[in-house]
């Protein structure tokens, strides 16, 4: 039994499957279950085959775990050890939770890739049918070679593309009332990942508190109850573990604001050439925005707006992988910045002042940062007022055209190029009817052979070509692996000849006695056998 060599990660006894008691094993690559008293597994799934696991809700009498496979089948496991059932199940669940994603990605990636290749390439698909479905070679052999060809872009796709975050992921949680004055939130691992990536502060809290201080469930329950999740709630109550998150967010936002914008064209602070001094103007006493004379409602409104901006910014940053820059700011910023942050708590007007004075060389036109200049030039450019350069064909403008008219000119290519007459001779010889084409069947095959036979012949050619390619790629045989492979490939060739080529030959012979359509194929096979034979005899000689 293979299990002997495998590493067993977890053993759970008294697990029922189809009303039969047994033991559940979690191995490095698969999960397996065997009935009690027998030393074989009746259930065994590779992790890669499992799409997801589901658990029975808390409070249900039966404590179960369901494994759903990619094929759509499912296996139910019932944990029946009364005293420890819940613990057993959670242990299994947690371990699976860690293991599944690893395999999931790998399996999916590969399957997807294979599927895509087969779909995109009908020839390959046919080949697959001819060789794999007919069991000439195994699927692994078929793909082993294929995928390595595509190794280049495979490695690219290995470097997996970051998946962005939906801006509405919080909306997707969609609470449902459970009928008795409670709410149920559906949380998937994707959403959790989104939350962590968008709100690193929450991730940090999670790391700090789970599982030492509270369970995962408790953590999320608190999360959903907190003002942090409800964006219109104003920060109250210090016991809320997320109040710190909100503060951190705010700090992060502020330092981002403080850093200012890179694009000078959107910098509202330097937009105006401020000329009105304090006290002048018709509405310089704009309604003050200090918190003291704001109603609760107004405060909550502006909180929503801030949160939306923050949320969108973080989603955007998480998507573009620039998370670090916005994060570093508030973890590793020295106190210099902090002072400014505090200052920024003051009414807005002042805040603007401080940061506009800091702009180190906004003053002068002559020292404009290059980005600004480029942006401005970009803006003033009227592309349609210019003559398009790309499409215009350049008229040939020869300076001394008489030079080009003389016929004394002979190009010099060196010795590696054959003369033109030799080249045309070669082309003639290789054209149908030419000297070198005499040996082949003269009759136009396409007129004599019906289409379906032609098609079949084509398939045979591609399949044979593929096999031969495998065969020839083994030479020079310098490793043990290649040695094995070349032997295997030879038997594959023989098998192909027997199962595919022979029937076709017989069929053709029945219909067209005179023509030898497969002669060339046979030649190719023969050539391979000869080579194999030569190699084998040489090997034997060396061995003796």
């Amino acid at each position: 039994m293979a299990a002997l060599s495998e590493e067993v990660l977890l053993v759970v006894k008294r697990v029922r499957q189809r009303k039969q008691d047994g033991t559940l094993y979690l191995m490095a690559e698969r999960i397996a279950w065997g009935p009690e008293g027998k030393d074989r597994f009746t259930v065994s799934h590779l992790y890669a085959d499992i799409r997801c696991q589901k658990i029975s809700p808390d409070g249900k009498a039966k404590i179960q775990l369901q494994l759903v496979l990619h094929t759509g089948e499912s296996t139910n496991l019932h944990f029946s050890n009364e005293s420890t059932a819940l613990k057993d199940r959670d242990a299994a669940k947690d371990l699976l939770q860690q293991l599944l994603p690893k395999f999931k990605k790998r399996a999916n990636k590969e399957l997807e890739e294979k599927n895509r290749m087969l779909q995109e390439d009908p020839v390959l698909f046919q080949l697959y049918k001819d060789l794999v479905v007919c069991q000439v070679i195994s699927a692994e052999e078929f793909w082993a070679n294929r995928l390595s060809i595509n190794n280049v872009d495979h490695s690219l796709s290995n470097n997996k593309q970051e998946v962005g975050i939906s801006a509405a992921f919080l909306a997707d949680i969609r609470p449902q009332t459970d009928g008795c004055n409670g709410l149920r939130y559906n949380l998937t691992s994707d959403i959790i990942e989104s939350i962590f990536r968008t709100y690193p502060a929450v991730k940090q809290k999670y790391g700090e508190n789970v599982p030492h201080n509270m369970t995962e469930k408790e953590f999320w329950t608190r999360f959903f109850q907190s003002h942090y999740f409800h964006r219109d709630r104003i920060n109250t109550g210090l016991q809320d573990i997320f109040s710190e998150c909100a503060k951190q967010d705010e700090k992060g936002l502020k330092s981002m604001v403080f850093q200012g914008v890179k694009n000078p064209m959107v910098d509202l602070l330097s937009l105006e050439d401020k000329s009105l001094d304090e006290g002048y103007g018709s509405n310089s006493t704009a309604p003050s925005t200090s918190n003291t004379n704001k109603t609760v409602k107004e405060n909550s409104n502006s909180a929503i707006i801030k949160r939306f901006n923050h949320h969108s910014t973080m989603v955007l940053a998480a998507g573009s992988g620039k998370k670090a820059s916005s994060l570093v700011v508030f973890t590793a910023e020295p106190c210099a910045n902090l002072a400014v942050c505090l200052h920024r708590d003051a009414p807005n007007g002042q805040a603007c002042e401080t940061s506009s004075t800091d702009g180190n060389s906004r003053d002068s036109d002559f020292f404009q940062p290059p980005i600004k200049k480029v942006k401005i030039q970009d803006v003033i450019e009227y592309e349609d007022l210019h003559r398009e350069n790309g499409k215009k064909t350049v008229a040939l403008n020869l300076k001394k055209s008489d030079r080009w008219c003389g016929c004394s000119w002979t190009p010099y290519f060196g010795t590696s190029v054959m003369s033109s007459s030799t080249a045309s001779c070669a082309i003639a010889a290789l054209s149908p009817g030419g000297v070198l084409m005499q040996a082949l069947a003269q009759q136009a095959i396409n007129q004599m052979v019906p289409n379906d036979v032609q098609g079949e012949l084509k398939h045979l050619y591609t399949a044979a070509g593929e096999l031969l390619r495998h065969f020839w790629s083994c030479f020079p045989v310098n490793t043990l692996f290649l040695e094995e492979k070349v032997v295997k490939m030879r038997s594959n060739l023989e098998r192909f000849q027997m199962t595919k080529l022979r029937p076709f030959q017989e069929k053709v012979q029945r219909q067209y006695l005179s023509t030898n359509l497969t002669g060339h194929l046979e030649d190719m096979f023969q050539m391979a056998y000869n080579k194999f034979h030569a190699w084998q005899t040489r090997r034997m000689m060396r061995k003796t």
Binding site: L269, L276, N309, T313
Partner: protein
Amino acid sequence: MKLNIEGLLVYFPYDYIYPEQYSYMLELKRTLDAKGHGVLEMPSGTGKTISLLSLIVAYQREYPLEVTKLIYCSRTVPEIEKVVEELRKLMEFYSKETGEKNNILALALSSRKNLCVHPEILHANIIVYSYHYLLDPKIADLVSKELSKKSVVVFDEAHNIDNVCIDSMSVNITRRTLDRSQANVETLQNTILKIKETDAAKLKEEYRRLVEGLKEANVARETDIYMSNPVLPDEILQEAVPGSIRTAEHFVGFMKRFLEYLKARLRIHHVVQESAPQFLKDIFEKVCIDRKPLRFCAERLRSLLRTLEIADIADFSAITLISNFATLVSTYSKGFTIIIEPFEDRTPTIANPVLHFSCMDPSIAIKPVFERFQSVIITSGTLSPLDIYPRILDFRPVTVASFTMTLARTCLCPLVVGRGNDQVAMTSKFETREDFAVIRNYGNLLLEMSAIVPDGIVAFFTSYTYMENIVASWYEQGILENVQRNKLIFIETPDAAETSMALEKYQEACENGRGAILLSVARGKVSEGIDFVHHFGRAVIMFGVPYVYTQSRILKARLEYLRDQFQIRENDFLTFDAMRHAAQCVGRAIRGKTDYGLMIFADKRYARADKRGKLPRWIQEHLTDGSLNLTIDETVQLSKHFLRQMAQPFRQEDQLGLSLLTLEQLQSEDMLQKIAQIAHQA
């Protein structure tokens, strides 16, 4: 290319030209020929700036004695920098074409920090700076008063020029201002005492000068060297500074008394509104301050600060403000109003008395400009209705014209959405703006548009509070969550730095293909200064009609004044003001002929002729009867159709001959005829 504009050789630094640019230059040249003022409206993105610069520079080269200088005023720093770049381009073209080194000196003042290059201003051929350098008497006096009479002044983006004028002449005085003035006065007093001990001669010299009067200034003005300063009225130039404030100590004592009076005036519990003569009468009765010394306050203080050799004038901004107020209030009996409010309307419990001395007549500040310079051009993408600017600025233009945008494909699509799918009218009208159905319909409109419009959408609300309320309701109703499925949401806040960041992130989200929505406010900084070219703004939604807050007393006073003095009815002015802001907002998305965008007016009132008629001509002509009073569904259908059309490839050849001309095409007879129709004389 080189153009012939009615006999003037104009170098134009492009291979092609838009027909309207040619037409614009034609009108501009006629204005310069007539040495008069002009009002020209041409949509943004049709190369207004380069047309202006090309023509005026050519004119200057051709008739160096007629036009000596171009003063180009724009509003924002980026705008000024753009003008400088375009000018640079033109100059490069000149030196390439003519082969001679260009002998034109251009100067840009883009920040007050690097002020002021005084002698250079006088010699420069072209000056580019902000409005304030010409309109704000405090700065104009320093920077612009010696500019030659034979200058051409251009106010670009001038749709808000009346407000700039008003702002530069209005003063607000709070308790804080008075406290700081008090401190200033004390410092002055101490300095005077010190100087008296060490250098009494200096003060005597000053006294002598003041007896002589402001003769120098008078001579200068008469000999036409200076532009007049509206704060320094003609009459006082003929007179000597009155004896009561001639010595430094007396003046300081006088200011103290004035400050005490103002303090007393701020101690009120109800709103007071009075005219300047009423104020003068009251001050005379209460503290025996006469009108005459008040008028000399600003000048007297300036002289004192100069004499005392005070380096940092900024420290004395409070007392300067008070002295300016004193001069203005005693100089102008008309065009100003005084409103003293004990508290803000929103917070009646917190005492925060403010004295608003507000200018109601924009023509006061701009009058010296019109009087001094031979040609003043007012231009913008949105100046409709054209006749109102000459009226409120009180000048007589020789040219008034609006230019359309010639288009090979209709790249703008204005739509008026009047109702939701439930047929409930959509409007930001005061009575119904809190209506649940209206808010929901607005939300649905945004949601639907977010699903069909690619890349960026900008939405404008009528005011910040209104936006806050709507965003909160949308959040509660779950509309924003659904919008987030389609695009990221960014929202303007009162904090400029925060908004800048939101803007940058918005652009980033448009750039990386994710798409975003920016919720913003009409009359806000974004609506006034940020362009949303190409994919940064494929649709603009204007939620409601952006009327100004009409309950403000200052506004009411101004409306009254407009009615009495200029016979402009309140409603006409309010609608004009709302529509120019709406046009500004929606115009942000179209910045050229290769650009395209939807302009969605989400209020049924836009369908009315009095509103629609006030939109710029280049928007109005695409607003057909079929695009009025639509439901949300109809809007979505029309928008989809429009976007699909716009997504087709658009090449230069498609434009050539229609909205883009070569030199040969320009010279053809029937093209010239067509061009003549582009300019629409008001």
